[in-house]
Protein backbone atom coordinates (compact mmCIF):
# COMPACT_ATOMS: atom_id res chain seq x y z
CA UNK A 1 0.00 0.00 0.00
CA UNK A 2 1.88 3.01 -1.19
CA UNK A 3 -0.69 5.42 0.32
CA UNK A 4 0.15 4.09 3.78
CA UNK A 5 3.88 4.21 3.05
CA UNK A 6 3.60 7.83 1.91
CA UNK A 7 1.76 8.79 5.08
CA UNK A 8 4.40 7.05 7.18
CA UNK A 9 7.15 9.08 5.47
CA UNK A 10 5.29 12.26 6.42
CA UNK A 11 4.81 11.08 10.01
CA UNK A 12 8.50 10.19 10.17
CA UNK A 13 9.36 13.67 9.02
CA UNK A 14 7.47 15.08 11.99
CA UNK A 15 9.18 12.80 14.45
CA UNK A 16 12.51 13.73 12.88
CA UNK A 17 11.65 17.40 13.37
CA UNK A 18 11.26 16.67 17.07
CA UNK A 19 14.76 15.31 17.26
CA UNK A 20 16.14 18.27 15.31
CA UNK A 21 14.30 20.85 17.38
CA UNK A 22 13.86 19.16 20.77
CA UNK A 23 12.47 22.39 22.25
CA UNK A 24 9.16 21.70 20.55
CA UNK A 25 8.68 18.44 22.41
CA UNK A 26 10.01 19.98 25.60
CA UNK A 27 7.55 22.87 25.63
CA UNK A 28 4.57 20.87 24.43
CA UNK A 29 5.21 18.60 27.44
CA UNK A 30 6.01 21.30 29.98
CA UNK A 31 2.82 23.21 29.34
CA UNK A 32 0.37 20.45 30.36
CA UNK A 33 2.60 19.52 33.29
CA UNK A 34 2.45 23.14 34.41
CA UNK A 35 -1.34 23.01 34.15
CA UNK A 36 -1.45 19.88 36.30
CA UNK A 37 0.64 21.53 38.99
CA UNK A 38 -1.20 24.88 38.87
CA UNK A 39 -4.68 23.40 39.04
CA UNK A 40 -3.71 20.81 41.58
CA UNK A 41 -2.27 23.35 44.01
CA UNK A 42 -4.21 26.55 43.18
CA UNK A 43 -7.76 25.19 42.93
CA UNK A 44 -7.24 21.82 44.56
CA UNK A 45 -7.46 23.24 48.03
CA UNK A 46 -10.67 25.18 47.53
CA UNK A 47 -12.78 22.79 45.49
CA UNK A 48 -14.56 20.24 47.63
CA UNK A 49 -15.14 17.22 45.47
CA UNK A 50 -16.51 14.70 47.86
CA UNK A 51 -14.26 12.20 46.04
CA UNK A 52 -11.83 10.13 48.00
CA UNK A 53 -8.33 11.26 47.08
CA UNK A 54 -9.35 14.87 46.51
CA UNK A 55 -9.51 17.19 43.52
CA UNK A 56 -6.55 15.70 41.68
CA UNK A 57 -8.60 12.54 40.94
CA UNK A 58 -11.15 14.65 39.05
CA UNK A 59 -8.60 17.03 37.64
CA UNK A 60 -6.39 14.53 35.86
CA UNK A 61 -9.00 13.21 33.38
CA UNK A 62 -10.06 16.82 32.74
CA UNK A 63 -6.59 17.99 32.00
CA UNK A 64 -5.84 14.93 29.88
CA UNK A 65 -8.82 15.71 27.70
CA UNK A 66 -7.95 19.40 27.49
CA UNK A 67 -4.45 18.52 26.37
CA UNK A 68 -5.50 16.10 23.65
CA UNK A 69 -8.18 18.55 22.47
CA UNK A 70 -5.35 21.00 21.84
CA UNK A 71 -3.80 18.53 19.37
CA UNK A 72 -5.90 20.50 16.93
CA UNK A 73 -3.66 23.52 17.49
CA UNK A 74 -0.43 21.68 16.74
CA UNK A 75 -1.87 20.29 13.53
CA UNK A 76 -3.25 23.63 12.40
CA UNK A 77 -0.06 25.53 13.12
CA UNK A 78 2.13 22.89 11.48
CA UNK A 79 0.08 22.77 8.30
CA UNK A 80 -0.28 26.54 8.09
CA UNK A 81 3.50 26.82 8.32
CA UNK A 82 3.97 24.21 5.58
CA UNK A 83 1.48 26.11 3.47
CA UNK A 84 3.15 29.43 4.05
CA UNK A 85 6.57 28.09 3.13
CA UNK A 86 5.37 26.38 -0.03
CA UNK A 87 6.01 22.85 1.22
CA UNK A 88 2.41 21.89 0.59
CA UNK A 89 2.90 22.94 -3.03
CA UNK A 90 5.89 20.68 -3.31
CA UNK A 91 4.06 17.75 -1.71
CA UNK A 92 1.17 18.28 -4.09
CA UNK A 93 3.50 18.17 -7.08
CA UNK A 94 4.78 14.72 -6.04
CA UNK A 95 3.28 11.46 -7.25
CA UNK A 96 1.97 10.53 -3.80
CA UNK A 97 -1.44 9.57 -2.51
CA UNK A 98 -3.73 12.56 -2.22
CA UNK A 99 -4.39 11.89 1.42
CA UNK A 100 -0.86 11.02 2.54
CA UNK A 101 0.18 14.45 3.78
CA UNK A 102 -2.86 15.05 5.96
CA UNK A 103 -2.97 11.47 7.25
CA UNK A 104 0.73 11.56 8.03
CA UNK A 105 0.34 14.83 9.86
CA UNK A 106 -2.62 13.75 12.00
CA UNK A 107 -0.95 10.44 12.82
CA UNK A 108 2.22 12.26 13.84
CA UNK A 109 0.37 14.74 16.01
CA UNK A 110 -1.65 11.89 17.50
CA UNK A 111 1.53 9.97 18.26
CA UNK A 112 3.11 12.97 19.96
CA UNK A 113 0.28 12.72 22.50
CA UNK A 114 1.67 9.41 23.72
CA UNK A 115 4.75 11.21 25.00
CA UNK A 116 2.79 14.12 26.42
CA UNK A 117 0.22 11.93 28.18
CA UNK A 118 2.93 9.75 29.68
CA UNK A 119 4.71 12.78 31.12
CA UNK A 120 1.44 14.14 32.51
CA UNK A 121 0.41 10.80 33.97
CA UNK A 122 3.71 10.52 35.81
CA UNK A 123 3.41 14.07 37.12
CA UNK A 124 -0.15 13.38 38.19
CA UNK A 125 0.93 10.26 40.03
CA UNK A 126 3.61 12.23 41.85
CA UNK A 127 1.06 14.80 43.05
CA UNK A 128 -1.44 12.22 44.21
CA UNK A 129 -3.42 10.91 41.23
CA UNK A 130 -4.33 7.26 41.84
CA UNK A 131 -6.55 5.69 39.20
CA UNK A 132 -8.31 2.79 40.87
CA UNK A 133 -9.89 0.89 38.00
CA UNK A 134 -7.21 -1.64 37.20
CA UNK A 135 -4.68 -1.91 34.40
CA UNK A 136 -7.06 -2.78 31.57
CA UNK A 137 -9.40 0.16 32.15
CA UNK A 138 -6.57 2.60 32.63
CA UNK A 139 -5.03 1.57 29.30
CA UNK A 140 -8.45 1.81 27.67
CA UNK A 141 -8.79 5.31 29.10
CA UNK A 142 -5.54 6.38 27.45
CA UNK A 143 -6.56 4.79 24.16
CA UNK A 144 -9.77 6.82 24.31
CA UNK A 145 -7.71 9.97 24.85
CA UNK A 146 -5.40 9.19 21.93
CA UNK A 147 -8.27 8.56 19.55
CA UNK A 148 -9.96 11.78 20.64
CA UNK A 149 -6.72 13.67 20.00
CA UNK A 150 -6.49 12.09 16.55
CA UNK A 151 -10.07 13.12 15.77
CA UNK A 152 -9.47 16.70 16.92
CA UNK A 153 -6.32 16.81 14.80
CA UNK A 154 -8.51 16.54 11.69
CA UNK A 155 -10.37 19.68 12.71
CA UNK A 156 -6.94 21.29 12.92
CA UNK A 157 -6.21 20.28 9.31
CA UNK A 158 -9.12 22.36 8.06
CA UNK A 159 -8.15 25.33 10.20
CA UNK A 160 -4.47 25.17 9.19
CA UNK A 161 -5.18 24.88 5.48
CA UNK A 162 -7.80 27.64 5.63
CA UNK A 163 -5.87 30.32 7.47
CA UNK A 164 -2.55 29.53 5.70
CA UNK A 165 -0.53 31.55 8.15
CA UNK A 166 1.20 30.20 11.19
CA UNK A 167 0.35 32.97 13.61
CA UNK A 168 -3.27 33.19 12.56
CA UNK A 169 -3.53 29.44 13.06
CA UNK A 170 -2.14 29.83 16.55
CA UNK A 171 -4.72 32.44 17.55
CA UNK A 172 -7.64 30.85 15.75
CA UNK A 173 -7.15 27.47 17.39
CA UNK A 174 -6.74 28.98 20.82
CA UNK A 175 -10.02 30.84 20.48
CA UNK A 176 -11.72 27.67 19.24
CA UNK A 177 -10.45 25.23 21.83
CA UNK A 178 -10.03 27.24 24.99
CA UNK A 179 -13.76 27.91 25.60
CA UNK A 180 -14.57 24.36 24.54
CA UNK A 181 -12.40 22.94 27.29
CA UNK A 182 -13.54 25.38 29.97
CA UNK A 183 -17.24 25.24 29.12
CA UNK A 184 -17.19 21.70 30.40
CA UNK A 185 -16.89 19.58 33.50
CA UNK A 186 -13.12 19.35 33.09
CA UNK A 187 -12.05 21.64 35.93
CA UNK A 188 -15.17 22.44 37.94
CA UNK A 189 -18.59 20.83 38.28
CA UNK A 190 -21.12 22.13 35.77
CA UNK A 191 -23.70 22.42 38.52
CA UNK A 192 -22.44 25.88 39.44
CA UNK A 193 -23.11 27.25 35.92
CA UNK A 194 -26.30 29.06 34.86
CA UNK A 195 -28.87 26.48 33.71
CA UNK A 196 -28.70 27.12 29.93
CA UNK A 197 -24.91 26.93 30.06
CA UNK A 198 -25.14 23.63 31.92
CA UNK A 199 -26.91 22.08 28.94
CA UNK A 200 -24.22 23.32 26.57
CA UNK A 201 -21.45 22.19 28.90
CA UNK A 202 -22.84 18.75 29.46
CA UNK A 203 -23.46 17.99 25.78
CA UNK A 204 -19.99 19.31 24.99
CA UNK A 205 -17.82 16.45 23.64
CA UNK A 206 -15.10 17.52 26.05
CA UNK A 207 -17.47 16.85 28.97
CA UNK A 208 -18.53 13.44 27.73
CA UNK A 209 -14.86 12.60 27.18
CA UNK A 210 -13.95 13.78 30.67
CA UNK A 211 -16.85 11.90 32.21
CA UNK A 212 -15.96 8.82 30.19
CA UNK A 213 -12.33 8.93 31.28
CA UNK A 214 -13.29 9.47 34.90
CA UNK A 215 -15.39 6.35 34.61
CA UNK A 216 -12.50 4.40 33.10
CA UNK A 217 -10.13 5.65 35.79
CA UNK A 218 -12.56 4.56 38.52
CA UNK A 219 -14.55 7.66 39.45
CA UNK A 220 -18.17 8.65 39.18
CA UNK A 221 -19.13 11.87 37.54
CA UNK A 222 -21.88 14.27 38.49
CA UNK A 223 -24.21 15.66 35.90
CA UNK A 224 -26.41 18.62 36.83
CA UNK A 225 -29.06 19.90 34.48
CA UNK A 226 -28.87 16.99 32.07
CA UNK A 227 -28.91 14.20 34.61
CA UNK A 228 -30.70 11.25 33.08
CA UNK A 229 -30.03 12.39 29.51
CA UNK A 230 -28.25 10.14 27.01
CA UNK A 231 -24.79 11.75 27.30
CA UNK A 232 -24.95 11.82 31.09
CA UNK A 233 -25.94 8.15 31.24
CA UNK A 234 -23.56 7.00 28.50
CA UNK A 235 -20.59 9.34 28.38
CA UNK A 236 -18.28 6.75 26.84
CA UNK A 237 -20.66 5.74 24.11
CA UNK A 238 -21.52 9.39 23.46
CA UNK A 239 -17.81 10.23 23.20
CA UNK A 240 -17.35 7.45 20.68
CA UNK A 241 -20.28 8.79 18.68
CA UNK A 242 -18.79 12.28 18.76
CA UNK A 243 -15.41 11.00 17.57
CA UNK A 244 -17.00 9.08 14.72
CA UNK A 245 -18.99 12.16 13.71
CA UNK A 246 -15.95 14.43 13.84
CA UNK A 247 -13.87 12.05 11.74
CA UNK A 248 -16.67 11.27 9.30
CA UNK A 249 -17.04 14.97 8.60
CA UNK A 250 -13.52 16.27 8.83
CA UNK A 251 -11.47 13.51 7.20
CA UNK A 252 -13.11 13.77 3.76
CA UNK A 253 -13.34 17.54 4.10
CA UNK A 254 -9.65 17.78 4.97
CA UNK A 255 -8.52 15.60 2.09
CA UNK A 256 -10.60 17.68 -0.30
CA UNK A 257 -9.28 20.91 1.13
CA UNK A 258 -5.69 19.69 0.82
CA UNK A 259 -6.16 18.82 -2.83
CA UNK A 260 -7.47 22.28 -3.58
CA UNK A 261 -4.93 23.94 -1.34
CA UNK A 262 -3.30 26.87 -2.98
CA UNK A 263 -0.72 29.14 -1.54
Amino acid sequence: MSAVMDAIVITKRQLLQLTRVPEVLLFSTIQPIMFVLLFRYVFGGSIDTGQPGGYVQLLMPGIFVQTVAFTLAGTAVGLAADMQKGLIDRFRSLPISRSAVVFGRTLGDGALNIVVLTAMGITGFIVGWRPSSGFFNIVLGFIFLLVFGFAMSWVGVIIGLSVREERVAQNATFIAVFPLTFLSNAFAPTTGMPKPLQYVAEWNPVSTMVAGCRELFGLTNEFGATAGSFPSENPLLMSLIYMVIIMAIFIPLSVRKYNKASK
Binding site: M5, V9, R20, K85, R90, F91
Partner: protein, 329 residues
Protein backbone atom coordinates in the same frame (compact mmCIF):
# COMPACT_ATOMS: atom_id res chain seq x y z
CA UNK B 1 7.89 16.59 -30.30
CA UNK B 2 6.48 19.18 -27.91
CA UNK B 3 7.24 18.54 -24.25
CA UNK B 4 4.82 21.20 -23.04
CA UNK B 5 1.69 22.49 -24.71
CA UNK B 6 -0.73 25.03 -23.27
CA UNK B 7 -3.78 25.98 -25.27
CA UNK B 8 -6.16 28.80 -24.45
CA UNK B 9 -5.68 28.64 -20.72
CA UNK B 10 -8.01 30.78 -18.68
CA UNK B 11 -7.94 31.19 -14.92
CA UNK B 12 -9.57 33.92 -12.95
CA UNK B 13 -9.85 34.71 -9.26
CA UNK B 14 -12.33 36.71 -7.32
CA UNK B 15 -15.33 35.76 -9.45
CA UNK B 16 -13.69 36.69 -12.69
CA UNK B 17 -12.52 40.16 -11.75
CA UNK B 18 -8.86 39.13 -11.58
CA UNK B 19 -7.79 37.36 -14.74
CA UNK B 20 -4.57 35.54 -13.96
CA UNK B 21 -4.56 33.70 -17.30
CA UNK B 22 -6.41 35.22 -20.19
CA UNK B 23 -6.10 32.85 -23.13
CA UNK B 24 -2.52 31.80 -22.67
CA UNK B 25 -0.86 29.72 -25.40
CA UNK B 26 2.60 28.31 -25.37
CA UNK B 27 4.60 25.26 -26.27
CA UNK B 28 8.09 24.03 -25.57
CA UNK B 29 10.06 21.73 -27.82
CA UNK B 30 11.51 18.67 -26.10
CA UNK B 31 15.01 19.23 -24.76
CA UNK B 32 14.86 23.01 -25.02
CA UNK B 33 14.59 25.82 -22.51
CA UNK B 34 11.77 28.31 -22.61
CA UNK B 35 12.12 31.45 -20.54
CA UNK B 36 8.79 32.94 -19.54
CA UNK B 37 9.51 36.59 -19.01
CA UNK B 38 7.09 39.04 -17.54
CA UNK B 39 6.52 41.63 -14.85
CA UNK B 40 5.05 40.75 -11.46
CA UNK B 41 1.42 39.79 -11.76
CA UNK B 42 1.70 38.84 -15.44
CA UNK B 43 0.59 35.24 -14.83
CA UNK B 44 3.96 33.47 -14.71
CA UNK B 45 3.39 31.63 -11.45
CA UNK B 46 -0.18 30.74 -12.37
CA UNK B 47 1.10 29.24 -15.63
CA UNK B 48 3.61 27.09 -13.79
CA UNK B 49 1.02 26.05 -11.21
CA UNK B 50 -1.38 24.88 -13.90
CA UNK B 51 1.31 22.97 -15.79
CA UNK B 52 2.60 21.37 -12.56
CA UNK B 53 -0.94 20.15 -11.68
CA UNK B 54 -1.30 22.39 -8.63
CA UNK B 55 -4.07 24.46 -10.09
CA UNK B 56 -6.96 23.55 -12.37
CA UNK B 57 -7.55 26.05 -15.16
CA UNK B 58 -11.08 27.41 -15.69
CA UNK B 59 -10.80 26.35 -19.31
CA UNK B 60 -8.25 25.38 -21.90
CA UNK B 61 -5.99 22.40 -22.25
CA UNK B 62 -2.45 21.67 -21.23
CA UNK B 63 -0.22 18.66 -21.71
CA UNK B 64 3.19 17.79 -20.36
CA UNK B 65 5.05 15.11 -22.32
CA UNK B 66 1.76 14.46 -24.07
CA UNK B 67 -0.13 13.83 -20.81
CA UNK B 68 -3.14 15.98 -19.98
CA UNK B 69 -2.49 17.85 -16.72
CA UNK B 70 -6.17 18.03 -15.76
CA UNK B 71 -7.23 14.51 -16.71
CA UNK B 72 -4.10 12.66 -15.65
CA UNK B 73 -2.35 14.72 -12.98
CA UNK B 74 -0.82 11.68 -11.27
CA UNK B 75 0.96 10.59 -14.43
CA UNK B 76 2.25 14.12 -14.94
CA UNK B 77 3.61 14.26 -11.38
CA UNK B 78 5.74 11.19 -12.09
CA UNK B 79 7.77 12.95 -14.75
CA UNK B 80 8.03 16.56 -13.63
CA UNK B 81 10.20 18.46 -11.21
CA UNK B 82 9.07 21.72 -9.66
CA UNK B 83 11.10 24.28 -7.82
CA UNK B 84 9.18 27.30 -6.74
CA UNK B 85 9.75 30.91 -5.98
CA UNK B 86 10.20 30.07 -2.32
CA UNK B 87 12.53 27.35 -1.22
CA UNK B 88 9.99 24.67 -0.43
CA UNK B 89 12.01 22.41 1.79
CA UNK B 90 11.61 21.63 5.47
CA UNK B 91 13.77 24.20 7.23
CA UNK B 92 13.96 22.40 10.53
CA UNK B 93 15.43 19.32 8.90
CA UNK B 94 18.90 18.93 7.43
CA UNK B 95 19.61 18.90 3.72
CA UNK B 96 20.16 15.16 3.97
CA UNK B 97 16.85 14.55 5.80
CA UNK B 98 15.01 16.52 3.15
CA UNK B 99 16.48 14.63 0.22
CA UNK B 100 15.78 11.28 1.86
CA UNK B 101 12.22 12.29 2.65
CA UNK B 102 11.50 13.46 -0.88
CA UNK B 103 13.28 10.40 -2.29
CA UNK B 104 10.99 8.16 -0.26
CA UNK B 105 7.98 10.15 -1.41
CA UNK B 106 9.09 9.49 -4.98
CA UNK B 107 8.90 5.83 -3.94
CA UNK B 108 12.60 5.10 -4.02
CA UNK B 109 13.77 2.45 -1.57
CA UNK B 110 15.70 3.75 1.44
CA UNK B 111 18.91 2.58 -0.19
CA UNK B 112 18.13 4.19 -3.55
CA UNK B 113 17.13 7.41 -1.79
CA UNK B 114 20.46 7.50 0.01
CA UNK B 115 22.45 6.89 -3.16
CA UNK B 116 20.55 9.65 -4.96
CA UNK B 117 20.94 12.06 -2.04
CA UNK B 118 24.71 11.57 -2.07
CA UNK B 119 24.82 12.19 -5.83
CA UNK B 120 22.70 15.31 -5.66
CA UNK B 121 24.54 16.83 -2.70
CA UNK B 122 27.77 16.31 -4.62
CA UNK B 123 26.34 17.77 -7.82
CA UNK B 124 25.12 20.91 -6.05
CA UNK B 125 28.21 21.34 -3.84
CA UNK B 126 26.22 20.79 -0.67
CA UNK B 127 28.00 17.71 0.66
CA UNK B 128 29.68 19.64 3.47
CA UNK B 129 26.43 21.17 4.66
CA UNK B 130 24.35 18.02 4.31
CA UNK B 131 24.01 17.48 8.05
CA UNK B 132 23.09 21.05 8.91
CA UNK B 133 19.50 22.24 9.25
CA UNK B 134 18.31 24.18 6.22
CA UNK B 135 17.59 27.24 8.31
CA UNK B 136 21.36 27.74 8.67
CA UNK B 137 21.82 27.74 4.86
CA UNK B 138 22.39 30.86 2.79
CA UNK B 139 19.73 31.85 0.27
CA UNK B 140 21.73 30.37 -2.58
CA UNK B 141 22.28 27.06 -0.79
CA UNK B 142 18.58 26.78 -0.02
CA UNK B 143 17.73 27.28 -3.66
CA UNK B 144 20.25 24.69 -4.70
CA UNK B 145 18.82 22.17 -2.26
CA UNK B 146 15.32 22.99 -3.45
CA UNK B 147 16.43 22.38 -7.00
CA UNK B 148 18.17 19.16 -5.98
CA UNK B 149 14.92 17.96 -4.40
CA UNK B 150 13.08 18.54 -7.65
CA UNK B 151 15.62 16.43 -9.55
CA UNK B 152 15.45 13.28 -7.45
CA UNK B 153 13.66 11.24 -10.10
CA UNK B 154 15.53 12.85 -13.04
CA UNK B 155 12.39 14.54 -14.39
CA UNK B 156 11.71 14.81 -18.11
CA UNK B 157 10.27 18.26 -17.68
CA UNK B 158 11.43 20.75 -15.10
CA UNK B 159 9.63 23.91 -13.97
CA UNK B 160 11.60 26.63 -12.23
CA UNK B 161 9.57 29.54 -10.97
CA UNK B 162 11.84 32.57 -10.60
CA UNK B 163 14.85 30.49 -9.55
CA UNK B 164 17.03 33.47 -8.68
CA UNK B 165 14.58 35.98 -7.24
CA UNK B 166 15.95 37.26 -3.96
CA UNK B 167 19.48 35.95 -4.50
CA UNK B 168 22.54 38.17 -4.41
CA UNK B 169 24.58 38.54 -7.64
CA UNK B 170 26.97 35.80 -6.57
CA UNK B 171 24.14 33.42 -5.76
CA UNK B 172 22.51 34.24 -9.06
CA UNK B 173 25.70 33.46 -11.00
CA UNK B 174 26.07 30.13 -9.16
CA UNK B 175 22.46 29.24 -9.88
CA UNK B 176 22.88 30.06 -13.57
CA UNK B 177 25.89 27.78 -13.69
CA UNK B 178 23.93 24.97 -12.06
CA UNK B 179 20.97 25.40 -14.40
CA UNK B 180 23.18 25.53 -17.49
CA UNK B 181 24.77 22.24 -16.44
CA UNK B 182 21.34 20.68 -16.03
CA UNK B 183 20.19 21.79 -19.42
CA UNK B 184 23.17 20.07 -21.02
CA UNK B 185 21.73 16.85 -19.62
CA UNK B 186 18.80 17.25 -21.99
CA UNK B 187 15.95 18.09 -19.64
CA UNK B 188 13.11 20.22 -21.01
CA UNK B 189 12.97 23.34 -18.89
CA UNK B 190 10.38 26.03 -18.46
CA UNK B 191 11.63 28.82 -16.29
CA UNK B 192 10.00 32.06 -15.32
CA UNK B 193 11.92 35.20 -14.65
CA UNK B 194 11.57 38.93 -14.33
CA UNK B 195 15.02 39.50 -15.77
CA UNK B 196 15.74 39.66 -19.47
CA UNK B 197 19.37 39.01 -18.68
CA UNK B 198 18.46 35.75 -16.98
CA UNK B 199 16.26 34.61 -19.85
CA UNK B 200 19.07 35.62 -22.17
CA UNK B 201 21.60 33.52 -20.25
CA UNK B 202 19.53 30.38 -19.84
CA UNK B 203 16.78 30.13 -22.42
CA UNK B 204 16.76 29.03 -26.05
CA UNK B 205 13.56 30.91 -26.56
CA UNK B 206 11.70 33.57 -24.63
CA UNK B 207 7.97 34.09 -24.26
CA UNK B 208 7.04 37.48 -22.89
CA UNK B 209 3.77 37.38 -21.00
CA UNK B 210 1.64 40.17 -19.67
CA UNK B 211 -1.90 40.24 -18.30
CA UNK B 212 -2.18 36.47 -18.62
CA UNK B 213 -1.18 36.00 -22.23
CA UNK B 214 1.89 35.69 -24.39
CA UNK B 215 2.54 38.99 -26.14
CA UNK B 216 5.84 38.23 -27.81
CA UNK B 217 7.85 35.15 -28.52
CA UNK B 218 11.23 34.48 -30.02
CA UNK B 219 14.92 34.12 -29.38
CA UNK B 220 16.60 36.65 -27.20
CA UNK B 221 18.21 38.30 -30.25
CA UNK B 222 14.99 38.61 -32.16
CA UNK B 223 13.25 40.15 -29.16
CA UNK B 224 16.02 42.64 -28.69
CA UNK B 225 15.75 43.57 -32.32
CA UNK B 226 12.05 44.09 -31.85
CA UNK B 227 12.80 46.35 -28.94
CA UNK B 228 15.64 48.06 -30.75
CA UNK B 229 19.28 47.14 -30.35
CA UNK B 230 22.14 49.21 -29.07
CA UNK B 231 22.31 52.94 -29.53
CA UNK B 232 25.36 55.13 -29.87
CA UNK B 233 25.03 58.26 -27.77
CA UNK B 234 27.35 61.26 -27.95
CA UNK B 235 27.12 64.48 -25.97
CA UNK B 236 29.19 67.44 -27.25
CA UNK B 237 29.49 71.21 -26.78
CA UNK B 238 26.90 73.20 -28.74
CA UNK B 239 29.23 74.31 -31.51
CA UNK B 240 30.17 70.73 -32.41
CA UNK B 241 26.68 69.32 -32.73
CA UNK B 242 26.54 69.60 -36.51
CA UNK B 243 29.98 68.05 -36.95
CA UNK B 244 29.21 65.25 -34.55
CA UNK B 245 25.98 64.54 -36.37
CA UNK B 246 27.89 64.03 -39.60
CA UNK B 247 30.23 61.61 -37.88
CA UNK B 248 27.34 59.62 -36.46
CA UNK B 249 25.72 59.62 -39.91
CA UNK B 250 28.83 57.94 -41.34
CA UNK B 251 28.66 55.16 -38.75
CA UNK B 252 24.95 54.55 -38.43
CA UNK B 253 23.36 56.15 -41.44
CA UNK B 254 19.82 55.87 -40.13
CA UNK B 255 17.32 57.49 -37.79
CA UNK B 256 19.69 59.92 -36.16
CA UNK B 257 18.17 61.70 -33.25
CA UNK B 258 19.52 65.09 -32.16
CA UNK B 259 18.46 66.53 -28.85
CA UNK B 260 19.59 70.16 -28.82
CA UNK B 261 18.68 70.67 -25.20
CA UNK B 262 20.79 67.75 -23.99
CA UNK B 263 23.35 68.40 -26.73
CA UNK B 264 23.04 64.74 -27.48
CA UNK B 265 23.24 62.89 -30.78
CA UNK B 266 22.07 59.29 -30.82
CA UNK B 267 21.45 56.60 -33.40
CA UNK B 268 20.96 52.84 -33.53
CA UNK B 269 24.09 50.87 -34.36
CA UNK B 270 24.65 47.26 -35.22
CA UNK B 271 28.39 46.88 -34.83
CA UNK B 272 28.58 47.44 -31.06
CA UNK B 273 31.88 48.54 -29.63
CA UNK B 274 33.39 48.86 -33.09
CA UNK B 275 30.99 51.72 -33.77
CA UNK B 276 31.98 53.29 -30.50
CA UNK B 277 35.70 53.15 -31.26
CA UNK B 278 35.17 54.49 -34.75
CA UNK B 279 33.11 57.40 -33.47
CA UNK B 280 35.75 58.24 -30.89
CA UNK B 281 38.47 58.12 -33.55
CA UNK B 282 36.58 60.38 -35.96
CA UNK B 283 35.74 62.86 -33.22
CA UNK B 284 39.37 62.93 -32.15
CA UNK B 285 40.58 63.53 -35.72
CA UNK B 286 38.40 66.62 -35.88
CA UNK B 287 39.56 67.78 -32.49
CA UNK B 288 36.17 67.32 -30.88
CA UNK B 289 36.22 66.20 -27.27
CA UNK B 290 32.88 64.66 -26.40
CA UNK B 291 31.43 65.38 -22.97
CA UNK B 292 30.06 61.90 -22.94
CA UNK B 293 30.12 59.00 -25.34
CA UNK B 294 28.74 55.53 -24.98
CA UNK B 295 26.70 52.58 -26.13
CA UNK B 296 23.31 52.12 -24.55
CA UNK B 297 21.81 48.65 -24.44
CA UNK B 298 18.09 48.14 -23.97
CA UNK B 299 17.51 47.47 -20.28
CA UNK B 300 14.94 44.94 -19.11
CA UNK B 301 12.72 47.90 -18.40
CA UNK B 302 13.09 49.07 -21.99
CA UNK B 303 12.04 45.62 -23.13
CA UNK B 304 8.97 45.54 -20.94
CA UNK B 305 8.15 49.09 -21.80
CA UNK B 306 8.32 48.60 -25.52
CA UNK B 307 6.59 45.21 -25.53
CA UNK B 308 3.98 45.76 -22.87
CA UNK B 309 3.61 49.51 -22.92
CA UNK B 310 4.02 49.72 -19.15
CA UNK B 311 6.66 49.11 -16.53
CA UNK B 312 6.73 46.16 -14.17
CA UNK B 313 3.94 46.51 -11.66
CA UNK B 314 4.48 46.84 -7.95
CA UNK B 315 1.92 44.26 -6.96
CA UNK B 316 3.23 40.71 -6.92
CA UNK B 317 1.48 37.88 -8.57
CA UNK B 318 1.14 36.11 -5.31
CA UNK B 319 -0.61 39.04 -3.64
CA UNK B 320 -2.98 39.01 -6.52
CA UNK B 321 -3.72 35.32 -6.29
CA UNK B 322 -4.05 35.29 -2.51
CA UNK B 323 -6.19 38.39 -2.18
CA UNK B 324 -8.38 37.15 -4.99
CA UNK B 325 -8.86 33.85 -3.24
CA UNK B 326 -9.53 35.25 0.16
CA UNK B 327 -12.23 37.49 -1.13
CA UNK B 328 -13.90 34.81 -3.17
CA UNK B 329 -14.26 32.63 -0.13
Amino acid sequence: MKAIIAEDLYKSYNKGSVKALDGLNLDVEEGTVLGVLGPNGAGKTTTVRVLATLLTPDSGRATVAGIDVVKNPDEVRKIIGLSGQYAAVDETLTGWDNLIMFGRLYHLSTKQAKVRAIELLEQFSLTDSAKRPIRTYSGGMRRRLDLAASLIIKPKVLFLDEPTTGLDPRGRQDMWGVINELVKGGVTLLLTTQYLEEADQLADEIAVIDHGKVIARGTSDSLKKQVGGERLEIVVENQYIAAAKQIVAKISGSAINVDEGLRQISAPVTTGSKALIEAAKLLDEQGIHPLDIGLKRPSPDDVFLSLTGHLAEEKTEEDLATSGKKRSR
